[in-house]
């Protein structure tokens, strides 16, 4: 398999300042030394808590916000410090589905004009665009009659299907799904997940699924990447990582998810304190150190290296 996206040592920093003019500048590493390959036709699940940099990473991939350093290679096109033409060409390989379907459809436009708008912008004649829209709607299992409805007339699940149809109509190679089901109910979530899996097989798509729901990741992904405060702390095959987590953060994440089985209740859980914002002051320290149950003094002054623990399964911890 060949990688369709190669990310190497990607960095993205945001600068914040306190006060309006003379405040002290502070930089926040939203994504820090991030390297990962995404292969053609795979479903990669990206997991992490809020503020871990998942969405920032997606924005950098889409060229929506410039990287601060490192390189991103999309199917042969390097988009870091690239000109607008290259970024545009790279962007055409992507389609995105966001979390809240209601906010990503224009309330004043019919479903049809929402779907054909990107096609028209790309220069597809209106007739052909309409045909494509009808086909796209069919592939998300919605009746053609929905083309003339407005978003408020649709349920959350239907709106999300429309958002997926609009993404599909551009014939992307990679779909970035940012929390595609977290605004939906359980029964609708199941429908959308099955639909996404069906489409992936049908069109041989590559998915990057961003979510904080481990159950969803486990169900759909081939590989999983765990992010903590901008760093990739562990990645590998879904079974390898979930059944044999090597990074303490993955371990904590897994045991924090409430298990839907009352018999498992009361099982021993690792104690974990603090919240995702607690980052050590020393930039070299492991970012988990202040919250990690296994942390020793060394963790606060050395950057752990990413080590391969089994074929294709990497973890970044001193104790691995």
């Amino acid at each position: 398999m060949k990688p369709i996206i190669r990310i190497e040592n990607l960095n993205k920093q945001f600068t914040t300042s306190k006060g309006m003019f003379f405040g002290k500048k502070k930089t926040v590493d939203a994504v820090k030394d991030f390297s990962l390959d995404i292969y053609e036709g795979e479903i990669l699940g990206l997991i992490g808590e809020s503020g871990s940099g998942k969405t920032t990473l997606a924005r950098v991939l889409l060229g929506l916000s410039p990287a601060s350093g490192g390189s991103v290679d999309i199917d042969g096109l390097s988009i870091v410090d690239a000109n607008r033409k290259t970024i545009k060409a790279a962007r055409e390989k992507f389609a995105v589905v966001f979390q809240d379907p209601a906010s990503n459809l224009n309330p004043r436009q019919t479903v049809e004009s929402s779907i054909i708008r990107p096609l028209i912008i790309r220069g597809v004649p209106a007739d052909e665009a309409r045909k494509k829209a009808a086909l796209a709607l069919e592939s998300v299992q919605l009746d053609e009659s929905y083309l003339q409805s407005y978003p408020h007339q649709l349920s959350g699940g239907q709106q999300q299907r429309i958002a997926i149809a609009r993404a599909l109509v551009m014939e992307p190679e990679v779909m970035i799904l940012d929390e595609p089901t977290s605004a939906l109910d359980i029964s609708v979530q199941a429908q959308i997940l099955n639909l996404l899996l069906k489409l992936q097989e049908e069109f041989r798509l590559t998915y990057l699924i961003i979510t904080h729901d481990l159950n969803v990741i486990r169900y759909v992904s081939d590989r999983i990447a765990v992010m903590y405060m901008g760093r990739l702390v562990e990645y590998g095959g879904i079974d390898d990582v979930l059944e044999n987590p090597r990074h303490p953060y993955t371990d904590i994440l897994l045991s924090s998810v409430p298990v839907s089985d009352p018999d498992e209740r009361g099982s021993e859980k690792p104690k974990f304190f603090g919240e995702p914002g607690d980052v050590p002051e020393n930039p070299l320290a492991c970012r988990l150190a202040p919250r990690c149950p296994k942390a020793v003094e060394e963790c606060f002054c050395t950057t752990p290296a990413l080590k391969e623990v089994s074929p294709g399964h990497f973890a970044e911890c001193l104790f691995v």
Binding site: E49, S50, S155, G157, D185, I186, S187, V188, Q189, A190, Q191, L193, N194, L197, H212, L214, N215, V216, R218, Y219, V220, S221, I238, D239, I252, L253, S255, S256, V257, P258, V259, S260, D261, P262, D263, E264, R265, K269, F272, F273, G274, E275, P276, G277
Partner: protein
Amino acid sequence: MAEILKVRDLSVDYKVQNGYLSAVNDVSFSIDEGQIFALVGESGCGKSTIAHSIMRLSIDNNERISGSVEFDGKDLLSIKQADMEKIRGRHIGMIFQNPLDSLNPVYRSGTQVAEALMQDGLSRSEAGDRVIQLYRDVQIPDPEERVISFPHELSGGMRQRVMIAMMLARNPRLLIADEPTTALDVTVEAQVLSIMKEMCKKRGASVLLITHNFGIVAEIADRIGIMYAGEIVEEGEVGEIFKNPLHPYSEALLSALPKIKKKEGRIKTIEGTVPRILEKKAECRFCNRCPYADDICRTAAPETKFVSEGHSVRCHKR
């Protein structure tokens, strides 16, 4: 054990453009002292409407409420507004989903918790000391610093802990928690849930937990009521319902949870959508989506029946 809350035949209809929307229909359940009772269901099924009816939080005259809500021997639906005010917060506490909506942004967090305590006649300084103790109980780090923080200076998990501290400050006998951890990250969610459970156990408070997350129910609840389109379709012990769901909706919902792997096959889905019940018809509310539905389901509304001690189901077929 003594029942602390007894809801009988509660029905709530909201006035809408062309008639009345039946949001809650004929709901009965009771919570024992020290018990955690979970109401589970998808959005729009009436979970929050039940909570609001118990607290009498309906603000206008847009709804018709019938039935009874008995708390500690008193029917909350018929007592005077002034008496209800004495019960709210003092005897029944409530935690909402988004703590930022519940906290006043221009007051320090500790002041808001102290305000609740001063209602009970504590002096300002006594209340201040108690607040620090409460912050310590809900495991907020550096409580002395945190009491003078404004809500926006606290993280999401911290805010929800402040809410828990505020609710528990007056030792309520019943705590209504409406999606208390939905806005939180998983690691924080686990911390908040365990604090909530521990605190309630220590003080002997009962909890009415409203959620759509089966994981949370499995983790902390004693009993569960599964709601669909305004009705409790099945109710029982948590272990029993998870192992042996009887209502077709509970069965479908439990098997729609993604916990298996892609290779092991696809999860089951429930086709169709929840109906909007504008006028009550003589039919089962689930019949348009139910795989077992036949003539009787479409012509008569099922009654709640007990299949075993403490396990009831609302279905013709069981």
